[in-house]
């Protein structure tokens, strides 16, 4: 499945461990959260990049102690209408200061990319045949944003205040 980063299809060096699978001796791996929790001590001793896939029913606070060590966190959209991961993403970025890759997986569609980006996702696994076009259309549809979120876009109210000062 294509991985989109910064609006382009990117190479994906990460190996996703499925339940019960033995870990390869080296190379970057993404583990299900339960596996991470069970084998955390051993995994932290591993000398390779680590990632975790967190379901949308878990609290992101459980990852707080390890956010410096994790280089990918995958959050799930089992259906695009299930929006729990939007809150998880904002909390990871804005409350816990997670800095590395935040990847949206599951039912990731064209018309939700902008919402995901605004909540802090920066990597997207999309089923779409032409993800780059979808990315461009999806993320450039709007130039005006009403909410302050951690994505760095200036909300309208800040632009208004700046305009008022400039006059």
């Amino acid at each position: 499945m294509p991985l989109l980063k910064n609006g382009a299809v990117a190479a994906d060096p990460w190996h996703k461990i499925v339940n019960g699978e033995a870990l390869p001796p080296d190379g970057p791996v993404i583990l299900p959260f339960e596996r991470w929790r069970a084998e955390r001590e051993t995994l932290l001793g591993r000398n390779t990049p680590l990632g975790v896939r967190l379901s949308n029913t878990h609290s992101v606070a459980e990852l707080e102690p390890d956010l410096d060590r994790l280089e990918v966190i995958e959050l799930e959209f089992p259906k695009f209408t299930d929006g729990r991961a939007y809150s998880q993403a904002r909390l990871l970025r804005e409350r816990y200061g997670y800095k590395h890759e935040l990847r949206a997986v599951g039912n990731v569609l064209h018309d939700q990319l902008l919402f995901m980006q605004r909540c802090g996702f920066d990597a997207f696994e999309m089923e779409k045949a032409d993800p780059v076009t979808a990315w461009q259309a999806g993320t450039s549809a709007f130039s005006v944003f009403y909410q302050p979120t951690g994505d760095g876009r200036a909300p309208v109210e800040r632009r208004r205040a700046a305009g008022a000062k400039a006059v």
Binding site: D82, Y86, F115, R118, R160
Partner: protein, 551 residues
């Protein structure tokens, strides 16, 4: 009233362009109906029994005359010459063609309107007291805070895929005209012991198949924290609200299952983390929004004129209209006028394009160019010079818009029902029409006094039957329309849910049943009692006994 600036205008135009592309992808087959459905719904476009229905947002029920004329134009050009005002202060057009919707939305965007967030599992168009800014009993204008909420909730990236739809209502008066206790969040402005104004925050109210009155989770929220507190509630709901069962997904079920105290703890804990962050409202921001709602330039106007006095003396119907449809205004010499969309035999909330144009003309001539929509499906002219009341009444009478029945037995709320809606079990509109025909003597209607009848065509309760003094719910019994009657509901601050009186009645008995209930009340009432007061004093038994007595 609020006027878009360049940012708001750019946003709404970008939204039209986005939807035009989505419709193009649908018509070309690139998008399936399954993929397209959530996209059209977030623009207010439903597929109903016979055609597409477009629901247009009227934020907190405020309309300029330019906007009202544009709605009339859309009714004429793209629909069948009328529109339907809803219990959420919106308007619906019921005979829309999919391929024309981008053009309709473009025409709406020109007058600062859209269909955004009138559907879908997002924060819906915020509603407020239709007398905001003019009511004599007002503590503070709820439109300022409604507009702040409108902007914050517009395409909120975190809260566009909630477990279920989410409705917020605001009142700034001790007399709640916005039914805040039957909303997902109800906000009531009041003064604390120190004389500061803030919000009582209520959550988890709602109707539908599980009607619940909202619980207070915070007695007093300082105004600058409004958005962070709302964000905290929504974040708790987004994470913990049920998604396994559509009928248990509203926040009322979460509040019910957790208990109000636990819900308050979760919200407070989240709020503590964000209350002093970027959502804190600066005085500059509030002042910038509040400036839009400064009172208009009222001219001095006498409270009475010779013409007014003479008409009042000679014309009983004008007197009744003054009593039922005209309310006290903050400003001396002015009045708030309710335009009844409930004429005898009419469809509650329906208005023709010609009537829309005519009311816009009247609002420009007599009322500072402003119109409001009420949740009881009427319109309000909020700034009428009292000296103009006779002329206004005459013209409204010619337009069949002056029925003197506000809050009386024929001021019925009804959902579109089986005449339009794919979910309905029974028709609502013909029942409402027949009740207005039965009670067509306005002297008698006034003698009966305040009586709110609310009719829903199915258990989803769009007609608010649970909070009707008399509630009527359409049910299907082996393919036949039956109606279940509830008594004693109320949506005011002393809110209550109606009690079922007995077995459902067939369609040919429902109107006589309402007559029977009214007769029982009239026979039992004591001095000055409204229907609801008598019901609360005597209980359901006497009503039940007479309604089901053998003929």
């Amino acid at each position: 009233m609020y006027a878009y600036d360049e940012y708001d205008q750019t946003f709404v135009e970008e939204r039209v362009a986005q939807f035009r592309d989505q419709v193009r992808r649908r018509l070309s087959g690139e998008l399936s109906e399954t993929e397209f459905k959530p996209l059209r719904l977030t623009n207010g476009l439903y597929l109903q029994l016979h055609a597409y229905m477009l629901r247009v947002a009227i934020p907190y029920g405020t309309l300029s005359t330019r906007q009202l004329r544009r709605l009339g134009h859309i009714a004429r050009k793209y629909d069948r010459g009328f529109g339907h005002f809803t219990t959420r202060q919106n308007i619906q057009f019921h005979w829309i063609k999919l391929e024309q919707t981008p053009d309709i939305l473009a025409e709406l965007a020109e007058v600062q309107m859209h269909g955004l967030q009138t559907s879908g599992n997002c924060i819906r168009n915020v509603t407020a007291d239709q007398w905001a800014g003019v009511a004599a009993d007002e503590i503070e204008d709820p439109r300022i805070w409604s507009e702040i909420i409108r902007q914050w909730s517009t395409l909120h990236p975190e809260f566009t895929f909630l477990p279920r739809k989410f409705k917020i209502a605001v009142t700034g008066s001790p007399n709640d005209r916005a039914a805040v206790k039957v909303h997902d969040i109800g906000l009531r402005m009041h003064k604390n012991d120190k004389g500061e104004i803030g919000f009582e925050v209520m959550v988890g109210g709602g109707l539908g198949r599980t009607p619940i009155i909202a619980k207070t989770i915070r007695d007093f929220l300082p105004k600058q924290h409004l958005l962070s507190y709302l964000e905290a509630i929504l974040r708790v709901y987004n994470q913990f609200g049920r998604r396994d069962n559509i009928y248990k997904a509203r926040i009322k079920i979460l509040v019910h299952e957790l208990g109000a105290a636990r819900m308050a703890e979760l919200v407070e804990a989240e709020w503590q983390q964000i209350k002093d962050g970027p959502l804190a409202l600066s005085p500059d921001t509030v002042a910038r929004i509040a400036a839009h709602f400064a009172p208009p330039a009222y001219a001095d106007s006498p409270t009475f004129t010779p013409e007014f006095d003479a008409l009042r003396l000679e014309n009983a119907e004008f007197r009744r209209w003054l009593k039922a449809n005209v309310a006290a205004h903050k400003r001396p010499g002015h009045a708030i006028v309710t335009v009844s969309l409930k004429p005898e035999g009419g469809v509650p909330g329906d208005m023709t394009a010609d009537q829309m144009d005519a009311v816009a003309d009247l609002a420009d001539l007599h009322g500072m160019g402003e119109v409001r929509v009420t949740h009881s499906q009427n319109l309000v002219l909020p700034h009428i010079r009292r000296a103009d009341l006779p002329a206004l009444w005459r013209r409204l009478s010619e337009l069949n818009l002056a029925t003197s029945n506000i809050n009386l037995v024929t001021d019925i709320i009804a959902c579109p029902g089986l005449d339009y809606c794919a979910l309905a079990n029974a028709r609502s509109i013909p029942v409402a029409q027949r009740i207005t025909e039965k009670f067509n003597d306005l002297a008698r209607v006034h003698d009966i006094g305040e009586l709110k009848i609310k009719i829903s065509g199915c258990i989803n309760a769009c007609g608010h039957h649970h909070v009707g003094h008399i509630g009527i719910l359409g049910v299907d019994k082996n393919g036949e329309e039956f109606y279940q009657v509830t008594l004693g509901g109320s949506e005011e601050l002393s809110a209550s849910l109606g009690a079922i009186i007995g077995p459902a009645l067939p369609a040919d008995r429902i109107v006589d049943a309402v007559g029977n209930l009214v007769d029982t009340y009239v026979a039992l009432r004591q001095d000055g009692e409204r229907f609801l007061d008598t019901y609360r004093r005597v209980g359901i038994a006497p009503f039940k006994e007479r309604l089901y007595a053998p003929a």
